[in-house]
Amino acid sequence: MSPLPFDPLLVSIAAPLALALAIALGLPKRWSVLLAYGAFAIPVLMALHVWWHFGDAAKDHGYAFLTRYATGLDGVGIGLKLGLNGISLPLFVLAALVGFAAGLYAIQSGAERLKIYLMLLLIMQGGLMGVFASVDIFFFYFFHELALIPTFIMVGIWGGRDRSYAAMKLTIYLTLGAMVSLLGLIMLYVKSGAHTFDLIALRDHLAALPLAATVQNNIVGLLLFGFGVLVSLWPLHTWAPLGYGAAPSSAAMLHAGVLKKFGVYGLIQVALPLLPDGLAYWAHPLAWLAVIGNVLIVGLITIAQRDLKQMIGYSSVMHMGYAFLGIAAGGIIGPGGVVFLMVAHGLSVALLFLLATAIYHRTQTFALDEMGGLAQKTPVLAAFFVAATLASIGLPGFANFWGELAIFVALWKFSPLITALAVAGVVISAVYGLRSAARVFFGPSSAELAKVTAAHPPADITWKERFPALILLAALLFIGFWPKSLTTPINAALTPHTSAKVGNATGR
């Protein structure tokens, strides 16, 4: 157990939600902002604390820090059970870090109606901490929805161009995905016959009495469709670039960085141990869909983008293709690489969204064609952006490299042809990544930009913007240079329960 006198997981969920409630009940603005620093910082402190103590904490089925709170639904097998295993720990830390950065960035942005904005962001943060700390599948889903709803509102009110349309499209798509995956989870609950949503109990139950192959196939099919919409699997991805293009920066950071990982995380945490045959059945269609659709088609679309924010949105859709490939590849390295990549991608895409907004404040535009030569005026901002781009491409030294490498290694055993196509995707991401950096910061300045900069000479990135960016960049580098800090728990979590069947069935 953790040496703290309270449950660190519950506190990291409750602190942001409590402040959100206080703001809703009419906390004055000055106090709201002041306390928001604390409410965003507490999850980080708690996350670092559990990360530090995870190795030597007592574990049950690989889960540490287990506690259960009854919510009055014991009769149907639902209870708020919190705990972390090696798969959820990295994402829990990711959620805390990105949330902290997004929170700090939101506070300094001075958005209109800042109080409500912070309230929604805090609800999102509380939900995200809950998603990864929940051992109960029901609450895992529940917290995801809790975090999702504020996104719709934030896009609708604080969004940029086409915000009304984007909010509507986002809502309908993501509700569809959420409802279909809920159907899959209900099917799992009913068919398992265990009458519980507790992941650990379900795992024991299904290890003794595995589900029939057709049932597994049906459940995984539902989950893949539902989670596929949520994670923007091609061709269900169209909400993502539009939504991210319109979303305010902090919401985009949290959604693209953390919330979107929910679907992939669900597949690894729920489908992989409970429904291995079903996952193996769908592995090949999934892999082809991911490599042709997400990596190649969306990759090429990304190159054609003329809008910086939409480009980042498309690039995040593309990188999710690698996550699906890793799951399809199976074994230990595949899903392990996916968890690693999710953390790395979460940090880097959040950093990119943050920097894109910082650039917008200086150029008053997201159009790549109307920028150029910004590096002379804002050298530090340029350095940050180039670093983030290189991380996103997967340069060694950054965390993304290890994630992609592990996925490619696992994928080679699965299908060399798919591996070759996936590696070609890295070239694509290098093209659009470097091209966008070049367009924004180097080369001659466009006439439009010259007018804007003449009116408002752009200042370099301020310390208030720099601090959240530094947190994300430091985390990327730390994990990049010391991947063992994450791989040890991930390996431990995946080794005992990954069924040999996945490896065999997918190794054909």
């Binding site: 009055g72 009769g75 929805e145 509102i153 609708g156 009110i157 909010a167 509700t175 809920l182």
Partner: protein
Amino acid sequence: MTLEAVKLAAEANQWVAIFPELLLACLALALLALEIVLPKKLHAYIPDVALAGLVGALGGQLVNFQSATLGKESFNGLLLHSPGGQVMRVFFLLTAMLVCILARVSLAKQKVPRIEFYHLVLIITGAMMLLAQSNHFVMFFVALETVTIGFYILVSYFRTKTASLEAGLKYLVMGALSSGLLLFGIVLLYGVAGNPTLPGHSASALHYPALGQFLVANPHNFLAGVGIVLVLVGVAFKIGAFPFQIWVPDVYQGAPTPVTAFLAVGSKAAGFAVLLVLTRDVFASYDWLVTPALTAMAAATILFGNIAALTQHNVKRLIGLSGVSHAGFLLLGVVALSGPVASVSATGAIYFYLFAYLIASFAVFGVMAHIGGADDSDQTLDHYNGLAKENPFLATILAIGLGSLAGIPPLAGFMGKFFVFIAAFEGGARWTLALAVVGVVISIYYYFGWIKAAFFEQWITPADTADPRPVRTPVDVVSGIALGCLALASIFIGFYQGPLGQWLTLK
């Protein structure tokens, strides 16, 4: 007279079993008496008497929830006091309380008599409570007619408004038709079950257990099947299920907002309380007929309600059609109960859904009552534009209420849908469930459109005219507290089902 005789007389006295209903009836009469007795300037306080009486009745009902009569029949089998009946009593008392609170806001904008309105609400509530506990078709029909006749008056209560009168007439015609069909079904069942040549026949075939036994003994009797279908049709009119929902949009639009709320929540729930008892106990042996009929009805109701609501601009029609879709979701739960593999959790799921629906609906209706002007039948989405800026309180309540109706976590409505979906899956209604998911996604569009109107759109008054929108009623203390409690309850029940979950789900 010996002490023993007094004790016997007291034990045989069954009136105590319907004490809450008697209390409401006395209260209703007392309101009329007060109007005669009290001086005119004190008349304004009579509605408060009704509200206080309801609060008292609700408190008494909760305290006396585990009453001694539980599980027993009374009045020669006319009533059966079941735990489900107790739950529905609480439900109807809560509904009546909230209707009275809405009426305080809405009636103030009209020159109409006040006291009779509360009188009728109390009478209808008492009848609904009896309806939910009826164990005999005579009781069932009499209670149902009391409810329906009360609603004929309430729907056309704004008697100077053509919309209200038109709605009243439509409700009268459709209500009479449905009562006729229902009665015909009851008579057929009575006739066929009284046929001495058939096994299991009974002289008192209107008594549910007797009829149930007859149906078990004759599981494929054609006339009984026709009778069952006609009874279901009669109930389907009350809950507004497709294809018997045609009266819903017009009547919901024309009726005064509190009455619309009463129809949408109370009348619908009463229909479901009856349907639960009938399908689970009485018609159980005819599941080969009841289940397909209800499944088809549930699927069609969900689809029709949601698709028809998509294009509505008038919020009262919109909420009416969305109510149709909620009837479909509830029917899904009933299907789970009547199917070949009866789901154990379905009854609790339906009750939970009803309570979540009550809480969310009244939050929305409460906001509607404040937005509407003297003529509240032409309330459109435009009236909500800019609400978030002008009155953040009402806008927040509206968003929470609509979110809960749409079934968005972490609100109570989501939990209701979740439980019903689990029950439907257990009951084997897979395809209807798939349709229901489609329905939820469609419903997001119009609920979200309403929220969008309140939060994202700005109202611009045309330059050359005065603002055509009615003046928004300021929120007074009582309705403010009520609405705040409803919104908080939606959130709280979504997060922590605690006592309610144990009370409803674990039975």
